[in-house]
């Protein structure tokens, strides 16, 4: 068992990622608000559908409309507290607002966010969801719009962020993105061993390089599939020809060609040397393919084409506590898999060249 600590770590991390990633609940949030257009100067009833919420009449959920693009100054901002709130169930409530006849003179646009606060779930927002229509100009309603936002309840317990578009699929971050990170590390290791084989001619390095490439390819396919599952729910279809999807498919073709090349060489010696050279070449071409070109084009992925990268509410500190162990865990599992692969290959083909002690 000596020297196997990292395999134990791999198992522990994978179980941790699987359980923490799947079982920790999402924060409470607002799924839907209707109607989405309201007329100023009239009372209006907004139906709010929550997600993971526990609305309870006894615990008095409070609801606000807050004018968009207006920051809180000393707890006050342009907004409106609900005149009455009726709870229909743990996930649904109706809030009545009496809207003034016009918007404040210095309002920046015609949209309002809905804020819900209750003792069980804390405070949550659906930004810019209600459009305010038919306002009278110069109505002098600034005072009616000035509202205090305070006494917010802080949510307790470990939760992942609730994003209206992502929903529960945000958990795929720990699998899809971790797989890609570990794939890059595995392919880097494969390229390093390919270089070492070319320099030293040591067979073990070639076996390692090939096994790591094989594992990397497997992870690439898994990363692509998990991405397609995710895309099916967030982008509407599994394959939308996004630049990163295309470049990934090409990267997989490049590495598939590596195996075709090795298989078609006449002698083992040539297969090893040519394969190692191509492996280095392929890894070098992977960098522009996956990291430079996608950033120069429009993409649905975060961090490209004007989309924000990771950070903010897409990756908060709770998610990092699962995401980073996920990267390490997948990488270790990949290394383990590669080790088993190269050991079996080496034993099957060159039992005499490679002593058991070298394994």
């Amino acid at each position: 068992m000596k020297g196997a600590w990292w395999k134990v770590l791999a198992v522990v991390l994978m179980f941790y990622v699987l359980f923490a990633g799947m079982l920790i609940p999402l924060k409470s949030g607002i799924q839907a608000v209707s109607p989405q257009t309201v007329e100023l100067g009239q009372p209006v009833e907004l139906a709010v559908t929550g997600y993971n919420t526990h609305f309870d009449p006894a615990r008095g959920p409070r609801v606000w409309l807050k004018l968009n693009a207006d920051t809180l100054v000393g707890g006050s901002a342009y907004g409106l507290a609900a005149a009455a709130v009726v709870v229909d169930g743990p996930q649904t409530l109706r809030a009545t607002f009496v809207l003034p006849e016009g918007l404040p003179d210095d309002a920046k646009d015609y949209y309002a966010s809905v804020i819900v606060d209750n003792a069980a779930d804390g405070t949550f927002v659906m930004p810019s969801v209600v459009a305010l229509a038919n306002g009278r100009a110069d109505s002098g309603d600034d005072a009616a719009w000035t509202t205090r936002f305070d006494d917010f309840t802080a949510a307790t317990g470990m939760t992942f962020p609730y994003r209206a578009l992502l929903g529960e699929s945000i958990r795929n971050q720990y699998f899809h993105v971790s797989l890609w990170f570990s794939l890059m590390l595995l392919m880097l290791a494969a390229a390093v061993y390919a270089g070492r084989y070319l320099r030293s001619g040591d067979l073990r390095h070639d076996y390692r390089s090939e096994a790591l490439t094989r594992t990397g390819l497997l992870f690439g396919i898994l990363g692509l599939v998990t991405g397609m599952v995710w895309a099916n729910y967030t982008w509407g279809k599994p394959w939308s020809g996004d630049i990163k999807q295309n470049m990934t498919a090409i990267a997989l073709l490049i590495y598939l060609a590596y195996f075709v090349l090795r298989a078609s060489m006449a002698s083992d010696q040539q297969a090893r040397r040519v394969g190692a050279a191509y492996n280095l070449f392929a890894f070098a071409m992977l960098i522009p393919l996956l990291y430079i070109i996608p950033r120069m084009r429009e993409s649905l992925h975060p961090g490209a084409g004007g989309n924000p990268g990771f950070g903010g509410e897409d990756l908060d500190s709770t998610m990092r506590m699962v995401f980073y162990p996920g990267i390490i865990g997948f990488t270790l599992v990949g290394l383990w898999l590669a080790q088993l692969w190269w050991r079996t290959q080496a034993l099957a083909n060159n039992p005499r060249v490679i002593a058991a002690s070298d394994l």
């Binding site: 070319l198 040519v274 392929a282």
Partner: protein, 218 residues
């Protein structure tokens, strides 16, 4: 070293001229393909013109490069191996492939312009794209040709290996072509040109690093 390199380039050139048929076949491939387009399509809109231009260049380059190393590895290989280093031979052949490809690019442009009209507005940019793309295509294909020279099923294997490697290059070239034809307004043209130049330099560096080890007879 430079002396030997230049001698090899000259030798390559003379060999090609002596076997006139092979040079002519490259030219004939371009003209034949373009003429086939004109029979099949009649007229070409600029977007298609651009795409076909780069496809013809890609296939000419593939044809030329597979031929380039195939004859070396027989009787003449042993002779070369004693006179010049692998890198010198490779550099000479890659240079020749590049020059050939630039010629093919010019011929291709002329033939397409003659039969379908010339949609290119920015001549400087398009010429730059052909130059950078020609170097990239020639180098990648020459490198892959070295790898596959000793493998079974040479030409087919070259396409399998090289096409995925060339797709990023071709995508950038098609985009630059579209910019040169004023089909799209693009502000990041400089970045694209730099990307092409970067890929060219990357391939040159990798070739210097890897060709000597691959070249060795097993």
């Amino acid at each position: 070293m430079l002396q030997r390199y230049l001698t090899l380039v000259r030798l390559e050139w003379r060999l090609e001229l002596r076997q006139g048929a092979s040079l002519a076949s490259v030219g004939l491939f371009v003209i034949g393909t373009v003429y086939l387009f004109s029979l099949a399509f009649g007229t070409l809109e600029p977007r298609l013109w651009n795409a076909l231009f780069w496809l013809v260049l890609l296939f000419s380059a593939t044809n030329a490069s597979t031929r380039l190393f195939s004859r070396e590895l027989t009787y003449r290989y042993n002779y070369y191996a004693q006179l010049a280093s692998p890198l010198e031979v490779f550099a000479a052949k890659a240079t020749f492939a590049t020059v050939l490809l630039l010629g093919v690019g010019a011929l291709n442009w002329a033939a397409l312009a003659l039969l379908f009209g010339n949609p290119i507005r920015d001549y400087g940019l398009f010429t730059l794209a052909i130059a950078l793309g020609g170097v990239g295509l020639a180098l990648v294909l020459s490198f892959v040709a070295v790898l596959t020279a000793r493998a079974r099923g040479g030409a087919a294997l070259t396409s399998v290996l090289a096409f995925p490697l060339l797709i990023p290059l071709l995508l950038t070239l098609v985009k630059l072509g579209a910019v040169a034809a004023r089909l799209i307004q693009q502000t990041s043209t400089t970045k694209d040109v730099l990307l092409l130049g970067g890929v060219d330099l990357l391939v040159i560096g990798l070739s210097i690093l890897l060709v000597p080890t691959v070249w060795k007879e097993a």
